[in-house]
Symmetry: C2
Subunit: 314 residues, 2 copies
């Protein structure tokens, strides 16, 4: 399968969808409270009607759907069956899906998770999956490689907005090479070394992966998850996304307190002047509750999406 | 439900099982190669016969079963259905189960994962679940709290043996308080501060949780996953497990190169002289392939388990 064949690279397809509909990613989060508001039971049948209802209302109107796997998994195999049918609906409608599963393991186990979410014949196949790198970005290679091979994508947690995260994501390790400033830089017999934050090391590893696969079916296949917090990017202790060369998923819009203005402030305008530079992106902000509370009426759901996309691009 | 009521704390039940059968935890890992060796197809029916066969052969002969969730999830909802039935078999046989799912998220999503694996009425309910702390141990609170409430357990990834892990798990952050040695300690106007590794900070957070719940239904409910690598514990850059006050799951036996002698060398004898002290433990080493290749014959599986438990306690 060539990059210009029947399936283009995930990032190419995502860019086209963002151009057509705006950057918003709509979370499919069947929380019990939302199910109740939609007149549905908190059971596998209710979850299925909810998820397929969101797809039916919004396919062709949003760039990306992001089902929250935990909220299906709580119903066990029956809940995952509902997710399979919602993913199939989206596939048939030509809508892109990102399974928010935050999986991460090593070796043949990681290969299992990769096939589960990114395999061409997998019942749960999505266009992309979120991954968690506590075992190292390198351990996620089976998923990154399968994404390249199949024209799919991954979004790896880099820096999240929750306050408990800093003990892991802001910890620092020495790396070889120039850069940094005292006291976080040292000169030794072997040359310079500097300290790098865990979150930055995740971004850098994804950047290396994307640089090695630019232009092909795996172009920009390794995305990052970066929370919508002012100060996330920028000169002081900021995350440098300029070399990422892939898309950025931005949770935190709406219910979690972030605004469309924050997206512009943190990530800048798209294109060369933005935090991701010309080779990176797109930046895809997520909203779930703010959209879903407008349902189940299809027109109201579409209006909510249109309003958010308007304020994100306006 | 009181600690001495119908269900004791998970760690109490695990200790009793280890005393009865030895410390070995048997992984239920339906790899395609193993399925083939057992004469089974790599499909949901094959996975179900494999997993339920392991439980049928070994319930009452091992302390703990650890199904590897990824290898069920690869078959989608049908694979998870097979896992549900294997977990139910173990429950009926009175055998303890640890779902190796490595889940981790925040807020209501984390609460979903907690209910999925630790909820009394969940189809996938196990006695314990593995968690991944890239979002911070604090973000895993819904699972730690539900484990306390239901007499179940969690095992949080702390330090793993895979080479890609060190960039995250060995990164360091400043924490307040005395300890440490130059150049990794500083004195400022506000007092001492020292650097602490991410892996140690995970262990310390679990220790705090266990200290707050000692003696009740949540006694020792927060365990750690620590790889079987020489040098993991000990004076130099070692992990200090003395205050953990909970069990330790040790992958790496057998196929991953570790030996029973390594378990003793790294974690010491059980009891006051071991790395976990009197209040910690038990230490539960995992083997999957080395046991499972002996199957599907029940006697051969039991013999493999008996031999490994013998060398772990001999």
């Amino acid at each position: 399968m060539s990059p210009t064949g029947p399936r283009a690279a995930f990032r190419t397809r995502l860019r086209e969808a963002v151009e057509a509909h705006g950057p918003l990613c709509v979370g499919i989060d069947p929380h019990p409270g939302l199910l109740s508001a939609w007149g549905l039971d908190a059971d596998p049948a209710g979850v299925e009607r909810f998820a397929r209802g969101v797809v039916e209302a919004l396919a062709g109107h949003v760039a990306l759907f992001k089902p929250q796997v935990a909220l299906f998994e709580v119903y066990g195999s029956a809940g995952l069956g509902a997710l399979e049918r919602a993913l199939a609906d989206a596939r048939e409608a030509g809508a892109l899906t990102l399974a928010d599963a935050k999986r991460g393991d090593i070796g043949s186990t990681m290969a299992g998770y990769a096939r589960a979410w990114l395999g061409d014949d997998a019942p749960l196949a999505a266009d992309a999956v979120t991954l968690s790198p506590y075992l190292g970005v390198g351990a996620l290679a089976p998923a990154l490689d399968l994404a390249v091979a199949t024209g799919r994508g991954v979004f790896v947690l880099a820096r999240t907005s929750n306050p408990e995260a800093s003990g892991v994501q802001s910890a620092q390790a020495w790396v070889a090479g120039p850069g940094g400033s005292p006291p976080d830089t040292q000169r030794s017999g072997a040359g310079h070394r500097r300290m790098r934050e865990v979150a930055q090391s995740v971004v850098d590893a994804l950047a290396d992966h994307n640089a090695a696969h630019a232009g092909g079916l795996g172009d920009g296949s390794a995305g990052a998850v970066v929370g919508l917090t002012r100060g996330t990017t920028g000169r002081d202790h900021g995350l440098d996304l300029a070399a990422l060369g892939g898309p950025v998923l931005v949770p935190g819009l709406g219910a979690q307190g972030g605004t469309p203005a924050d997206v512009a402030a943190v990530f800048g305008a798209s294109g060369p002047s933005g935090a991701l530079g010309e080779a990176g992106g797109p930046v895809v902000p997520v909203s779930a509750r703010e959209v879903l509370t407008a349902g189940p009426d299809h027109g109201a759901l579409r209006a909510a999406v249109g309003a958010l996309n308007g304020s994100l691009t306006g």
